[in-house]
Symmetry: C2
Subunit: 414 residues, 2 copies
């Protein structure tokens, strides 16, 4: 297996101004090409640090991918650092330079002089032009080592990297399976089924718990182990099917979208504490308009009453964070939008607003089917900060509707 | 200035399953404590890689912070790697171990045996108990070097790191100022004002462009340069005030919240292509219910007509992505929710749905004031994928309302 190191370059990354999402993208792709990622290093725009790190990375790994530091401003030094570390010269490419200047004219009223820097290319490099911005990608061979140079903005990096990947030979591709669950803690899952999960030392197991996607088990190994990996996945599925919402690449909103599309059904949401997050995550799925009509974000009791038809007495007697309120919200939005299903969420995301009876993290969720007037509701007590409580509520909202549809199907089959 | 290296440990990070957000958090805090981050390294759960990297990091930096790899499962190896790299022994702490087991009982119906591993502590380490999960944080002094060991889940890491920071002396604290802009490209900004921006070599400048927050300029230097940094910021503000939406820590939604709160005004949103994203980002601001009543996500024309009162003729004649439609949507939601202001967004986020006249990325946004029946609208053509187009629409939505309020204020002052 060949080793790869990713170098994410930029002061804004090491200083914590922005989160590096490129490395996740690049790592994921390289894995499919059979590379083992031995490190992702985030480094500042500083030649004294960059030059030795690039040298060292080329020593340790077969492939080094750099992201960022190709911009037109003075603090972008990746080109220079690679040149110093490898001894390879940068040569101005007239033709490319002209194209870059022309493109820059579309973007800028006055083209800044320093854009020209982006026309410098390494001797012998394969150049991939930038379909979005101006800095091109480059692939440079150095004996049996390879270095790939990518611009930092994700919209520019992704199409360039897609094209550059074709120049890498697939080396010992690996086989990967994923099982995604909601409702069972990571440690319980692993402890209870460790004999199945860790049954083969030649199969790599990664477990990970996330408030955005639940608990995931990931099995990987050489392609020749395909059957063995599939067997483990199959055995586990027989044990924990009630918790499994997806297998392999799909996430819960995609699973739910496909179920609804297959059934030819529509859905709407009534959101209080999640403030539109359920809806905004759902619309990330392309084609969602086939099943999704819309949502009401009812952030005040007045709106819950006026628009969602929640009774004044319900709010007075039980409060907005109650079974009764989410049931009325779900029915209200489903009727208003004429959708087959709906989900309603009301809770306390914090940091304030909690009480002894209803502490911060208390969230009521209700999934509803208009035709049969069926409700599936549950009360949760989520731990974490405001953001985490919200994301957990989203995850369990989708899961509750998945369960409502699932249970219905089971009933019909009996 | 002391150097720091952050080691983010976990297969799920190097393999691109999840994005590392901890390093941004830790880096940001360390910066305020006067540390220079010379690298953030993301490493797999692999002793052969971890041990030499930990040794090397302790060689190069004064402070090494590790995050992750403290879980109860077999693939968590950070403790062992640090022990091997430093020669320090791990000792089981009975008292702490008992507490961890007790806490684990709250979480698990059957406590997994391997939770016990989290009770092992380094000889002489300062221990910070985990207020959320079970793995404690540790601070270990090794001569003039320091290593801080933190659990991976952000909700556990953050409160522990806050406490551990008190054991670090502030060393040469630095002074930081930020200017945040919308509407001027990074390269134009830098080229046009480079004489002001780069006027002092002892002041570090970072520029960064993000579709979530616009273009930011960040000036930092020793605390003794405070006056010089303030002067640069002041000079720039005089030149580019029309683009500046915030100074220093605030983001645009916080700026908008504060403006509305100060004026005692309320707002609602009517979202089409953003699908609830404007609303879900707005509610991240604590206390937002003082100004925010709710939103309508109208993902179909039917809902735009039925709930937002958009005229059938408007949709037929101009389409849903038009000035006329967002104007009616804005008025509709403002009337329905009885809010002083509103914002409406309708556009084509892609990947499909574009046409020659209205390509993917076309977004109409309208800010509205009910009392005076005033509209401020603008058509945008955003580049990027579905997610980026949406986030850009959110940013410009907030900015359009900020401008409407701002222009009104100017008028009143004249």
């Amino acid at each position: 297996m060949k080793n790869a190191i990713i170098l994410a370059i930029g002061n804004e990354l090491v200083e914590g101004i922005i989160v590096d999402t490129n490395s996740k993208y690049v790592a994921n792709k390289l894995l499919d090409y059979g590379f083992k990622i031995i490190a992702i290093k985030t480094l500042p725009d500083d030649l004294e640090i960059l030059v030795p790190e690039i040298k060292e990375s080329l020593d340790k790994a077969d492939l080094v991918v750099t992201t960022g530091g190709l911009g037109p401003t003075n603090d972008d030094l990746t080109r220079e650092a690679i040149s110093l570390a490898t001894g390879k010269k940068l040569i101005y490419n007239e033709k490319l330079g002209e194209k870059i200047l022309k493109k820059a004219e579309e973007y800028y009223k006055e083209v800044p002089e320093n854009v020209k820097r982006q026309g410098y290319i390494f001797e012998g490099a394969i150049v991939i032009e930038n379909p979005v911005g101006t800095a091109p990608g480059q692939l440079l061979k150095l004996g049996n080592k390879t270095i790939i140079i990518l611009p930092g903005p994700p919209t520019e990096l992704q199409p360039i990297f897609q094209k550059i990947l074709k120049y890498l030979e697939k080396d010992n591709p690996i086989y990967v399976r994923r099982i995604k669950t909601i409702g069972i803690p990571e440690a319980v899952l692993v402890e209870k089924y460790k004999k199945i999960i860790y049954s083969r030392p030649d199969i790599t197991v990664a477990t990970m718990a996330s408030y955005k996607s639940g608990v995931e088990l990931r099995f990987s190994g050489k392609y020749s182990l395909k059957n063995e990996i599939d067997k483990i996945v199959q055995k586990l599925l027989e044990k924990i099917s009630e918790y499994v919402y997806a297998i392999d690449e799909k996430n819960i909103e995609e699973v739910l979208f496909e179920k609804l599309k297959m059934l030819g059904k529509t859905v709407s949401f009534a959101e209080s504490c999640t403030g539109g997050l359920v809806s905004s995550i759902f619309v990330n799925v392309p084609g969602i308009s086939k099943v999704f009509k819309g949502a009401i974000v009812a952030y005040s009791n007045e709106i819950k009453e006026k628009i969602l038809n929640v009774k004044k007495e319900t709010l007075q007697q039980f409060g907005a964070v109650s079974k009764e309120c989410v049931m009325e919200m779900a029915k209200g939005v489903s009727s208003l939008f004429s959708t087959d299903y709906s989900i309603a969420i009301s809770g306390i995301a914090g940091p304030t607003g909690g009480s002894k009876e209803k502490p911060v993290g208390t969230v009521w969720i209700c999934a509803y089917k208009l035709e049969s007037n069926e409700y599936l509701y549950e009360k949760f007590l989520f731990k974490g900060n405001r953001e985490i409580i919200r994301y957990k509520a989203v995850l369990h909202s989708f899961n509750l509707l998945r369960r409502l549809i699932h249970e219905e199907k089971k009933k019909n089959n009996n």
